[in-house]
């Protein structure tokens, strides 16, 4: 904002103030009002929230409502928070590690393996997964309805996009760097993890953020592959609360707020990084 050192012509400056005002107002109405709506209704009493309007709460009951939502049904939401975190952390970690390795090899190796791999990656990016047969396979290998199975699925489904972006980014790393390392006897896994992986930090962060948001908010895949209340992720829990709290909107919105708090915190702390990382030109499709 104030860092902007360019001195603009006064005419442009005048126009840009208006653009600022209109832009900010529009952004506010379109993007912030829905969040405002969630927050004020999460803070109301049940009777107050029944009217579903934008008015400020008569009594600020956010803390009370949150406590109720969190402690409800034997603290069920904590169990699903745990499930969501385990799935997200492990699958994102596994995803960035193995897709980076793959992107590296299929970019550097110009042979049949890599051209087949490229086709497979594009196919996986487009084709929807075959759901029931996947359930059948998971049952056969005893991973159906397990967190490990769910993690494996999230990684498998996230591979194509991650590999593609890693590969494109690796294309910008000069091959001379590998060659120098190879001369020093650094090959295979060492070459990747010692030399290349550290250079991938920006793109790793970008992919990590996209994958975290995608996996944390994934509803469909746990619906199929990780059913059951014990296994429920936060998204599943939220969905089931719609009918549970169908006349108690304050609790429903408190639940939405609870679930949104995690990305919000991440966003507040990493905002600059996220937007900078996303715009760093690493996404080339």
């Amino acid at each position: 904002m104030a860092k902007n050192k360019d001195i603009l012509k006064s005419k442009t400056k005048y126009r840009s103030i208006w653009a600022d005002i209109i832009g900010v107002t529009a952004t506010f109405v379109i993007f912030i009002l829905p969040f405002y709506f969630v927050v004020v209704n999460a803070a109301k009493s049940t009777e107050d929230s029944f009217r579903l309007n934008m008015a400020w709460p008569k009594h600020w009951m956010l803390w009370h409502n949150m406590k109720k939502v969190v402690s409800d049904y034997h603290w069920h939401i904590l169990k699903s928070t745990y499930n969501s975190f385990i799935i997200t952390i492990f699958s994102v970690a596994a995803l960035v590690i193995i897709s980076g390795m793959t992107g590296f090899v299929i970019h550097r190796k110009r042979n049949r393996v890599s051209s087949v791999a490229n086709v497979l990656v594009l196919t996986a990016l487009v084709i929807p997964p075959a759901i029931v047969p996947t359930i059948w396979v998971l049952q056969k290998i005893h991973l159906y309805k397990t967190l490990i199975g769910m993690i494996a699925i999230e990684v498998a489904y996230g591979l194509a996009f991650a590999i593609l972006i890693f590969r494109n980014f690796i294309a910008t790393i000069p091959k001379e760097i590998d060659e120098a390392a190879i001369v020093d006897g650094c090959t295979g896994w060492n070459l990747y993890f010692r030399i290349i992986f550290p250079l991938l930090k920006p793109v790793t962060i970008t992919i990590g953020i996209i994958a975290t948001a995608g996996i944390f908010n994934d509803f469909t895949n746990p619906l199929y592959y990780l059913p059951g209340e014990d296994n429920a992720t936060l998204q599943q829990t939220l969905f089931s609360y719609v009918s549970r709290y169908s006349t108690q909107y304050n609790y429903l919105f408190s639940d939405i707020l609870y679930i949104t708090a995690f990305p919000l915190l991440a966003f507040i702390f990493f905002n600059k990084r996220i937007v900078a990382g996303m715009t760093a030109g690493s996404i080339k499709g």
Partner: protein, 434 residues
């Protein structure tokens, strides 16, 4: 007290490790606790009941520990139960629907036959057909109460307008006209929860069965064309007729089950085609209004043959994959014992009769209970719903009913679509004649 999760594991440890170590690691109790797993729906009433029941059972049987797994209701729950049975990961004991939905989980293959259990003789014979598998085995113990499928109505409005409980559909529509004139919504419906839209069709089975004796076997054998009989068309036609008369609440498409009950309880609407158990939600949310609500059977064409379509209670099943069959059987036997009913009555007063002979009934009984009880005690004034008499039941009926009610389809198109839905389901189940 620490609880041992797996008795086998406990035994191995006991035998294999020095006693000191074992006693330090394990529960201080003298012998291992039997672990039993149980699964039921996660709805509030189901939770309240089963939390109380399992707690009471564990108190009476300290050597058993029951872990309860809750699953969603509706189609998500159906899918889950099917996949759990198919993958051998079902809990030892579980609660699920009887009737067509039980047939869809292949009881002969997946469930333990309970026909020779000592308590089976106490089960009301009306329940048996809906829990019987293709091999004649009986697979479920009844849990909960009967429900009537018909019309919940606001008695206060009826008294104010001087209306009589209608015995024919014509009389019902005449009542509706008067109610509308009085500025009250005649028929509440709630299509946001689309399952609630089916009641006009499903609740009409008493009338279908009265008009067409032997209907169920013909229906199961694909010998019925829905559009060819006035009786089978009636339910679909009602949906259309009420729409054309403008009797639904204007926000019907965005109304939920809970909202609809609220409208009924507060007297904003006079009728709600619903299961009698809807009263439980009113008791919970509007306790002072519960006595305003009554129940009557969905009226047909003939005032002389008037009766309620009755839903069976749900069933308690034992999965064949259980490793603690005796403990599972003991628990199921207890759920149909007097002690169990005492606990159930305490949680919520029954909204209909239990299906165990001599089961005690107590608590603040509602008018809905009395209305339903009278239908079930009368001669030829109640009949099971179709889904408890045949394995054929299309999963898309609720959406089709919404389509008719909202005018996307007329009654005939709706019935045709449902016939196709039945055909698809029967073919997928591999039933003969489809």
């Amino acid at each position: 007290m620490k609880i041992v999760r797996n008795s086998r594991f406990a035994k191995v440890l006991m035998l294999g490790l020095p006693a000191v170590l074992a006693s330090a690691m394990l529960a201080p109790s003298a012998h291992a606790v039997t672990e039993l797993t149980f699964q039921t729906w996660n709805s509030q009433d189901s939770r309240d009941k089963w939390d109380a029941l399992t707690a009471a059972y564990m108190k009476a049987n300290p050597d058993v520990h029951i872990t309860v797994n809750y699953v969603p209701g509706g189609v998500e729950g159906d899918a889950l139960v099917k996949s759990e049975l198919a993958s051998g990961t079902m809990t030892d004991v579980f609660a699920y629907n009887v009737g067509a939905l039980m047939q869809a989980i292949d009881p002969v293959k997946n469930l333990v036959n309970l026909k020779n259990e000592p308590w089976m003789s106490t089960v009301n014979s009306g329940f048996i057909p809906s829990a019987t598998g293709a091999d004649g085995g009986i697979y479920a113990a009844p849990f909960g109460t009967a429900m009537g499928g018909g019309i919940l109505y606001n008695k206060r409005i009826y008294a104010k307008l001087g209306l009589q409980v209608p015995l024919t559909w014509k009389a019902f529509m005449a009542n509706n006209a008067i109610i509308k004139k009085a500025g009250i919504v005649p028929v509440i419906s709630s299509w946001k929860d689309s399952w609630t839209a089916q009641l006009f069709v499903l609740g009409d089975h008493f009338n279908v069965a009265a008009a067409m004796p032997g209907f169920e076997s013909k229906f199961t054998a694909n010998k019925i064309v829905l559009t060819a009989n006035p009786a089978t068309m009636a339910g679909f036609a009602h949906l259309e007729e009420v729409r054309k008369a403008g009797y639904y609440n204007k926000d019907v498409a965005s109304t939920t089950f809970a909202k609809a009950l609220e409208k009924l309880a507060l007297g904003q609407g006079a009728h709600y085609p619903m299961l009698s158990a809807g009263i439980d939600t009113i008791v919970a949310n509007f306790p002072t209004k519960a006595s305003d609500i009554g129940f009557f059977a969905q009226p047909g064409t003939n005032a002389k043959s008037n009766g309620a379509t009755v839903w069976m209670p749900s069933g308690v099943y034992i999965a064949k994959t259980t490793k603690v069959l005796d403990a599972a059987k003991a628990f199921v036997a207890w759920t149909v014992s007097k002690d169990s009913f005492v606990v159930q009555n305490k949680v919520v007063p029954p909204s209909g009769p239990y299906f165990i002979k001599g089961a005690p009934v107590s608590g603040n009984l509602t008018a809905v209970f009395t209305d339903l009880y009278n239908y079930m005690q009368g001669k030829n004034t109640s009949y099971p719903a179709l889904e408890f008499l045949t394995p054929v039941k299309g999963p898309n009926l609720s959406q089709i009913c919404v389509e008719i009610g909202s005018g996307q389809k007329n009654a005939v198109q709706g019935a045709q679509a449902y016939q196709k839905d039945l055909q698809k389901q029967s073919q997928q189940l591999g039933l003969a004649g489809w």
